[in-house]
């Protein structure tokens, strides 16, 4: 079953077309990596699907729910109720974590389950502790975000997103704000989520990781999908000239 169906998605900032007719599907259990140079529209794509930006055209369907439709040539968003329902089906992990600094690690994770899903506190905390355990951060439950390393903060933010039990998890360059020696711990967490069958869409600059963990890689540039396919295709000899060029420049640094 397709968890996410994006068709002809368009987004403009003023006269600048950031996304031009983007279409792709995500099946349950898929791990999709989106790669491409800066300014290619990767982050904007994630932000449109996560309702942080309003798209200008196209259709988006999440877990069978229409989020964005075209009717009589007009771009129509679903009702506020449906949009909220969709919101809770997807989680987003940000590049710079965006943890709530005034809440402890535990409360960062439990706040939404308690006040958005109306879970009782004991259940929410039990679930949060299990997630922290999984992230190797159970000992940090009472710490504040400012007391954690970047890698630990990012793991907390992954736990925070998982606490709402999303159907799809999106990552917007999850390791870009981290020191090189801290990226490994995040990539390990994402890999273990992939093993559990979590559906994920990852915007990343970690090419080796994309090749390693993704079932499907999308290469974007200037707001269009230049090439997509299995990692063996995009990172192999059959890839298009443009993709090869990009990857080569990337490996040169």
């Amino acid at each position: 079953m397709a968890m996410l169906e994006v068709k002809n998605l368009c987004k403009r900032f003023g006269s600048l077309e950031v996304l031009k007719d983007i279409s792709f599907d995500v099946e349950q259990g898929n791990v999709i990596a989106i790669i491409g140079p800066s300014g290619s529209g990767k982050s904007t794509l994630l932000r449109c699907v996560n309702q942080l930006e309003r798209a200008d055209g196209g259709t988006v369907k999440v877990c069978g729910l229409d989020m964005l439709e075209q009717k009589d040539g007009k771009t129509i968003y679903a009702s506020a109720k449906t949009l909220q329902e969709i919101r809770l089906k997807i989680g987003l992990v940000f590049q710079n974590f965006n943890l709530f600094p005034h809440f402890s690690v535990l409360r960062n994770i439990t706040e939404a389950p308690i006040h958005v899903l109306n879970q009782n506190r004991a259940d929410a905390e039990k679930n949060a502790m299990q997630l922290l355990e999984k992230m190797g951060l159970a000992a940090k439950a009472d710490a504040y975000p400012c007391e954690l390393s970047g890698g630990q903060q990012q793991r907390v933010s992954i736990a925070r997103a998982l606490a709402l039990k999303p159907e799809i998890l999106f990552f917007d360059e999850p390791t870009s704000a981290l020191d090189p020696e801290l990226t490994g711990e995040i990539l390990k967490v994402i890999k273990s989520l992939a093993k559990e069958g979590m559906t994920m869409v990852i915007v990343t600059h970690e090419m080796a990781f994309a090749r390693d963990v993704a079932d499907h890689v999308i290469f974007m540039e200037n707001g269009v999908i230049v090439e997509e396919g299995a990692p063996s295709l995009l990172f192999g000899d059959q890839a298009s000239e443009r993709t090869k060029q990009f990857l080569q420049r990337f490996s040169e640094g």
Binding site: F94, P101, L164
Partner: protein, 234 residues
């Protein structure tokens, strides 16, 4: 002045500490929520509302508080006495009892609250605008409503950020209460002036100064205690 005279003056001033604290406390009670509302209205996307708030803040910050106290006190009696005032305003104002201490206190409170709300509004606006956009985005992705986001995520962080600037305002307010004596509101400064004339001595004024000084010290101590308490996060 003899020691017993100083003691007597001290007790008189102590008695008038209450009306001073009444202006101080009530002004805070009204001006802080009003300031928060004004800050939110100024950030409102509907331009006319934002402009209106801008004009209000400009007038309040651009004219002396003493003048505002005088205007607030004399506006109603002046308007009712003036023949050119429209009839409906006359009717509206005719019911206001403009005699007595209650009216005096209320007019002082109106001027002080509106004035301080304007200053607080700018402090709060700065605080709200300093919260990174990512906080709103994270909250939105987690399904929080706008109201929940404001009260659970934004406001607690704003509180910490505006505390030092607000403390400044609050200390200024303690001393500004002395401006109420311009409409003969009986508070410490006014009584100190009277005692100065009675005894032909500066001592009552020094005593009055000591009262303000102690109040300001207490506020700044409370504020730094609160700041330390909020230091658990950055």
């Amino acid at each position: 002045m003899s020691t017993s005279e100083i003691g007597k003056v001290f007790l008189i001033l102590l008695k008038y500490l209450l009306p001073t604290l009444k202006v101080f406390g009530m002004t805070l009670l009204f001006s802080i929520p009003l300031g928060m509302i004004a800050a939110l209205l100024k950030m409102c996307k509907i331009k006319p509302i934002s402009w209106l708030m801008n004009i209000y803040i400009m007038i309040m910050r651009g004219t002396p508080l003493m003048l505002q106290v005088i205007v607030a006190y004399f506006a109603i009696p002046m308007l009712t006495a003036n023949d050119t005032t429209p009839q409906w305003i006359q009717n509206l104002l005719s019911n206001v009892d403009i005699k007595g201490d209650a009216y005096m206190f209320r007019s002082v409170l109106v001027a002080f609250s509106l004035n301080y709300a304007a200053y607080f509004a700018e402090i709060f606006r700065g605080g709200i605008e300093s919260i990174p956009k990512g906080q709103y985005e994270a909250a939105a992705c987690l399904g929080f409503t706008k109201t929940q986001t404001f009260f659970r995520i934004v406001l607690p962080q704003v509180f910490k950020r505006v505390l030092p600037a607000s403390t400044n305002e609050i200390i200024t307010l303690v001393k500004d209460t002395s401006l109420a004596n311009v409409v003969a509101y009986a508070e410490i400064t006014m009584k100190a002036k009277q005692q100065m004339q009675i005894y032909s001595s500066l001592t009552p004024l020094v005593l009055a100064g000591a009262f303000y000084f102690v109040l300001a010290m207490i506020i700044s101590m409370l504020s730094s205690m609160l700041e330390k308490k909020l230091n658990y996060y950055k």
